[in-house]
């Protein structure tokens, strides 16, 4: 029988990493994610692992690059301003096809911003963030349980596709405490890491690099990366639906706001409105097909985000002309989380318009 724990989201992610076999962590303190390095600084050494508090986020991501290049499971974590600093290293890891997990418990911005829940870094995380036109899988948990499960999944995706993977949460998901059942890691066949640098030991030289100067070499490499992203789009999309079967209005939201939206949808159903919720779990690859089908059936989508409109662009691209898309957002700021009643009011307004 599985045990049931009561832990914070940040701790759950750290526990998931340990369960996934991660023994190397490199990080730098920043609110609201510091529980992750604190937890791992305590737990990794007894497991013969390594915890290093780096001199900066830049140092940390490059330690991750080095450790991952040797084939071990390793990770870092940070929050928005720290993720900005890590983008250089993430781009290099994407270019050199190095696995690794980056947990981003994002905060509000721009600049120093604040530590309250925000989804204003969607573009930065989902559209590349660093230079060079790459993508990395981005997973958006909305519960403590998912912080655990999706962290384990992130390590598998990283090894399967030889790519950095980001887990994108915010202070609501990272700081809240709720029940966690520590599930075992899903078993998935993963490729051998023959590319990892370990010292030649008589074999052929192995080089981990992102510099391709030969004629046509870089273009070929970029087409190779592009093809990988297409496979991810086919195979790795994850989403969750609630009450969408007969819905005439779909509320779409990810992460923390999806929980508030879930409550609002339940309240709307109690009032007799046929409303459903669509929650992308993978932000890249974005669950285009699943959303397009659900949206076409309903005819209308209301996107809710803790920003002034970012994911809504991917929703519009996904549904095209098949459904009307409207948006309700609250940019970051202390106390700016919408209440379920506030979202219910927005749902009423949009639902009535549908009826007309």
């Amino acid at each position: 029988m599985s045990k049931r724990l009561f832990v914070k989201g940040n701790e759950a992610a750290a526990m998931g990493a340990v369960e996934a076999g991660c023994r190397y962590y490199f990080g730098y303190p920043i609110t609201p994610q510091s529980d992750i390095p604190e937890y791992l600084s305590r737990e990794l050494p007894p497991l013969n692992g390594e915890f290093i508090q780096a001199e900066s986020e830049i140092g940390a991501i490059n330690m991750l690059l080095g450790a991952s290049a040797t084939g071990v499971r390793a990770m870092t974590s940070s929050s928005s301003p720290g993720i900005s600093l890590k983008q250089e290293g993430i781009s290099y890891m994407a270019g050199a096809e190095l696995p690794g997990v980056i947990i981003n418990i994002s905060r509000s911005g721009p600049g120093l911003g604040g530590i309250d829940a925000s989804q204003s870094d969607y573009f930065q995380c989902v559209k590349g963030g660093g230079h060079g036109g790459y993508h990395i899988p981005v997973l958006a948990p909305n519960s403590v349980q998912e912080m655990y499960d999706l962290t384990m999944h992130a390590f598998d995706l990283a090894d399967l596709y030889r790519t950095p993977v980001m887990l994108l949460g915010d202070s609501v998901i990272g700081q809240m405490k709720e029940a966690l059942i520590p599930n075992p890691r899903p078993v998935r066949e993963l490729p051998a890491k023959g590319w990892a640098v370990r010292g030649k030991s008589g074999a052929e030289q192995r080089v981990v690099k992102s510099l391709f100067l030969g004629d046509g070499e870089l273009e070929a490499h970029n087409w190779h990366l592009h093809a990988k992203y297409q496979v991810m789009k086919e195979k790795e999309c994850m989403s969750e639906e609630y009450e969408t079967a007969d819905a005439r209005l779909i509320v779409a939201g990810f992460g923390s706001v999806s929980r508030i939206a879930h409550t609002a949808v339940t309240m709307a159903r109690a009032e007799g409105m046929k409303v459903g919720l669509f929650r992308p779990v993978t932000l890249f690859p974005f669950p285009e097909q699943a959303l397009a089908q659900t949206a076409a059936r309903a005819g209308k989508v209301l996107v809710v985000e803790l920003n002034t409109g970012q994911m809504v662009e991917d929703v519009r691209l996904s549904v095209g002309a098949a459904a009307q898309v409207s948006f309700y957002g609250r940019p970051p700021g202390a106390g700016s989380l919408p209440s379920p009643e506030e979202l219910l009011e927005v749902i009423r307004k949009n639902y009535d318009e549908t009826a007309r």
């Binding site: 190397y24 490199f26 390594e50 290093i52 780096a54 001199e55 900066s56 830049i58 140092g59 940390a60 490059n62 330690m63 991750l64 690059l65 080095g66 450790a67 991952s68 290049a69 040797t70 071990v72 390793a74 250089e88 290293g89 290099y92 050199a96 640098v197 370990r198 010292g199 030649k200 030991s201 008589g202 030289q205 192995r206 080089v207 981990v208 690099k209 992102s210 510099l211």
Partner: protein, 246 residues
């Protein structure tokens, strides 16, 4: 007949792409010689930096990981911590190590990472076309100090080997030059000593190598070589600045 001189085993049998009179070839050879001495080729992971030296995987017959500009000591930290049995060195120029990578080198050194850092100081950014570096001498003209480096505006050239010697985690720090056969032989001895520190698990070792960049200095190789002795060594003295006993 006894063979007394040959290509180190750790070096590939290929021609280098470096400019005429550049010392990277010589320094590569010294590094390979030290690797051979301790028989670590098969467990070495080299960390290539950004700049002319990035292609070191084309010359060394070892596993290599490429680092972003300045970050080689952080990458090397990750490599060594994950694979403590491996032999890890970085090979970095002055722009890479003493400017953009200052934080990474100081903190890797201060943590006492069990790695070796080869620091090639030619007082300029070579690959990008000869701009002013943190090690550019006062008065030296470069493409971004066309009136000569002005101490009051640009600061003084950084003496990295001396700076490294101040840090608690550093076991060995030295500066050598490769402008003459005598200095090359001294450099060979120092490089061996520095690699020996890691080979014996004694901690962080650092070797600064004064070298020429004839192309960007606008000099022929002989004049460039002479400049090392006439201008660089008086400011960047040769010697071992720290040698921690085991």
């Amino acid at each position: 007949m006894q063979q007394v001189f040959k290509r180190p085993q750790s070096l590939k049998d290929v021609q280098t792409h470096f400019c005429p009179g550049c010392h990277h070839g010589t320094i590569h050879r010294l590094v390979a010689d030290a690797m051979d001495l301790y028989g670590v080729q098969d467990r070495t992971i080299g960390v290539a930096s950004v700049g002319c030296s990035v292609f070191l995987y084309g010359y060394f017959d070892i596993d290599v990981v490429e680092a972003p500009h300045g970050r080689a000591p952080a990458v090397a930290t990750g490599v060594k911590r994950a694979r403590p049995d491996s032999f890890v060195f970085t090979y970095q120029g002055d722009g890479d190590l003493a400017a953009i990578g200052t934080a990474e080198i100081i903190h890797a050194a201060n943590r006492g990472e069990d790695i070796t850092v080869v620091f090639v100081n030619n007082t300029t950014y070579g690959m990008t076309g000869g701009q002013m570096a943190p090690t550019t001498l006062v008065g030296q003209k470069t493409s971004t100090s066309p009136y000569g480096r002005d101490k009051s505006k640009d600061g003084s050239p950084i003496k990295m080997a001396e700076l490294m010697a101040q840090l608690g985690g550093v076991a060995y720090s030295a500066r050598v030059a490769v402008d003459s056969p005598k200095h090359v032989l001294e450099a060979k001895k120092v490089m061996r000593e520095a690699f020996g520190y890691q080979a014996q698990g004694k901690g962080f070792s650092f070797v600064e190598v004064l070298s020429a960049c004839p192309t960007n200095w606008g000099m022929n190789p002989l004049k460039a070589n002479a400049r090392i002795g006439e201008e660089m060594i008086p400011y960047f003295p040769l010697g071992v600045f720290k040698k921690e006993e085991a």
